[in-house]
Amino acid sequence: MSSGVDVNLENIWIKFGDFVAVREANVNINGGDFFSFLGPSGCGKTTILRAVSGFLDPSEGRVLIGGNDMAGLGPNKRPTALIFQNLALFPLMKVWENITFSMEVKGATAGERRKRADELLDMIALSGQGDKFPSELSGGQKQRVAIARALCAEPDVLLLDEPLSALDLKLRQHMRSELREIQKRVGITFIYITHDQGEALTMSDSVAVMRAGIIDQIGDGHAVYDQPATPFVASFVGENNVFRGKVTAVNGDEATIASNRSGELVSKITPAAVGKLNVGDDAMMFVRPEMLQMGEGDAKSTISAKVINEEFEGNTYSIYLEGEGGKQIKMAMPNLGNDPHKAKGDMMSFNYNANNAVVMPAGDLASE
């Protein structure tokens, strides 16, 4: 099987009439990487995938696969294989015929195809199921057949369009590790589309977070989660508490804001915004629920609020708080065996480590 091939998107614009689906996308995907496009529905991530697979041509810009310009090549001529959201298995063909359809196209004999199908069925742990029809398989099995069918074509790049979204939670989590496993084994470049940040973070070497046709940030899971480049990324990837306010002091990579309802707060400036934040600017500071802890700390990183509700989620307690002026804050505490229970209506103080909070110029948040 061919190994990692780079995929480069150079200044891609994709327009449908007046509507700009993708704006100035520049992405360099290293060969053999598991790369995810993460974004809410309608953000243009599937459109990008269709441009890579060849189902549509970008209005501007170039798609390079292995350094070769793909302009003018249809999906049947590109070294890519696409796994569709609904899998699109052929219902009237048996499983083994489905898997080896790409060989049938090239004129391989039934014997060769059968042999290859059996190898791939072994790989996806479905030995002996080749003569079934797709309708006789379970959701997870269909999923694996779709992967085998795509891999059978020996593509340089595998494109996956939210293939796990139809599965139930347990199976989805299982398929995540299985997909990652398969990707490591075959060593080819995977480009994965998802709106599920959990999927993106667990599987990917690199994630591109998209919003309304624009790529806000490209980075590995840690960077995207801990050092979000924009308020959208901060609020879309995982949960976050946002504090709005005006910058009162900037000190190297640290800034203090006078928050609207929670007093002065200090935090790191997110790397993408270092040097772009000036005193008096509108800013947003983000602290993740799990970065908050009970008790008083430094004055500029202590907040007090009223307990509204507590939820037990098994591994964590979620405590919902209401600060001054109705400011909603969420705090998450690991379940360590002792209930941190606070009576509803109690006032409590909590603090965070300024290194675990990020501030950046104000912008659009992801709408829930």
Binding site: G54, G74, P75, N76, A88, F90, S102
Partner: protein, 311 residues
């Protein structure tokens, strides 16, 4: 196919009054509109014609002579078989098959385009344009085609071609049967188009894209993905067009040439001109049974289930 509802459950679900009305209507439909006419036709075909009895024959006795006549001709004739009528029969069946296949090749691309193009409003307009001519009576449409194909300078096609100087003499579309085939094809084309349109529309577009992504050519995509999916619709359309073409009367009457007799015209003559309903009934039964047998044979060959056609 679902199992038919058991009666008690049917009445429980619909109430006794509504249940009875529905039950009565279905029973009426089956008995009076399907069974009785066919049985009466079969009964007619097995009796001699009462105004034309042979010596010693009784009008109420059963006989196969009407069927024998179709095969062997009048008794004492010099030919061993009723060549003329049998030839008409075979020709009708073959011509009906030809019309069916012609419609298939015309309709498949059209159905595919209508079903899979993303046109929306434009496609709906096209479908309406296809339907509108069918608001006009079949016989009137046949006459309209007769005018278009008329074999003189008054005919639309001949007139235009002669004006343009393409031909000097009017071409005889009628006696060459071109008008007949066009008329038959046109008469039932929607019955081919719509079942195919419906099944192709239900095909997941991703399957076509998946096949294309795996390098399949357009012919392979159609052979391996679209046509297998569309098979029930194709079978349904072909069955209807074949049965109705074989049994058509208006188009052959209006558009047929002097030499081309359609088998239904023979039936019509027995009933209407000769007033020999018994003989006509026998001819009609033979056409019906032969057509059904042909359809069933082809369904067997192409592995289509009866249930698929009813979808």
């Amino acid at each position: 196919m679902k199992k038919p509802m058991i009666f008690s459950e049917f009445f429980r679900n619909n109430g006794v009054v509504m249940g009875s009305i529905l039950f009565f209507l279905v029973a009426f439909w089956i008995i009076f509109l399907i069974l009785l006419p066919q049985i009466s036709m079969l009964d007619y075909s097995l009796h001699p014609n009462p105004i034309n009895l042979d010596a010693g024959e009784r009008a109420d006795e059963y006989t196969l002579k009407n069927y024998k006549y179709l095969i062997f001709g009048p008794e004492g004739s010099s030919d061993a078989f009723n060549k003329v009528d049998l030839m008409v029969f075979v020709r009708t069946i073959i011509a009906a098959m030809a019309v069916t296949i012609m419609n298939l090749f015309l309709c498949y691309p059209l159905a595919y385009f209508l079903a899979q193009s993303k046109g929306g409003g434009f496609v709906r307009l096209l479908v309406i344009l296809l339907i509108v001519p069918y608001w006009i009576n079949e016989i009137l449409r046949a006459f309209a085609l007769r005018i278009i194909f008329a074999p003189s300078e008054n005919g639309l096609i001949n007139g235009i071609m002669m004006k343009m100087g393409l031909i000097d003499q009017a071409y005889d579309f009628i006696n060459t049967d071109i008008a007949l085939y066009a008329g038959l094809g046109y008469a039932y084309i929607l019955l081919m188009l719509f079942p195919m349109y419906n099944v192709i529309e239900s095909l997941d577009r991703n399957q076509i894209e998946a096949a294309r992504d795996m390098g399949a050519s357009w012919t392979r995509i159609h052979r391996r993905v679209v046509i297998p999916h569309a098979k029930p619709g194709i079978a349904s359309g072909m069955t209807m067009v074949f049965m109705l073409s074989a049994g058509a009367l208006a188009a052959p009457q209006v558009l047929g040439g002097t030499s081309s007799l359609w088998f239904t015209q023979l039936v019509y003559q027995w009933f209407n001109d000769t007033l020999n309903w018994q003989q006509g009934a026998a001819y009609a039964i033979v056409l019906l049974v032969a057509s059904i047998a042909i359809v069933l044979t082809f369904m067997k060959i192409f592995k289509v289930n009866m249930g698929d056609i009813g979808k």
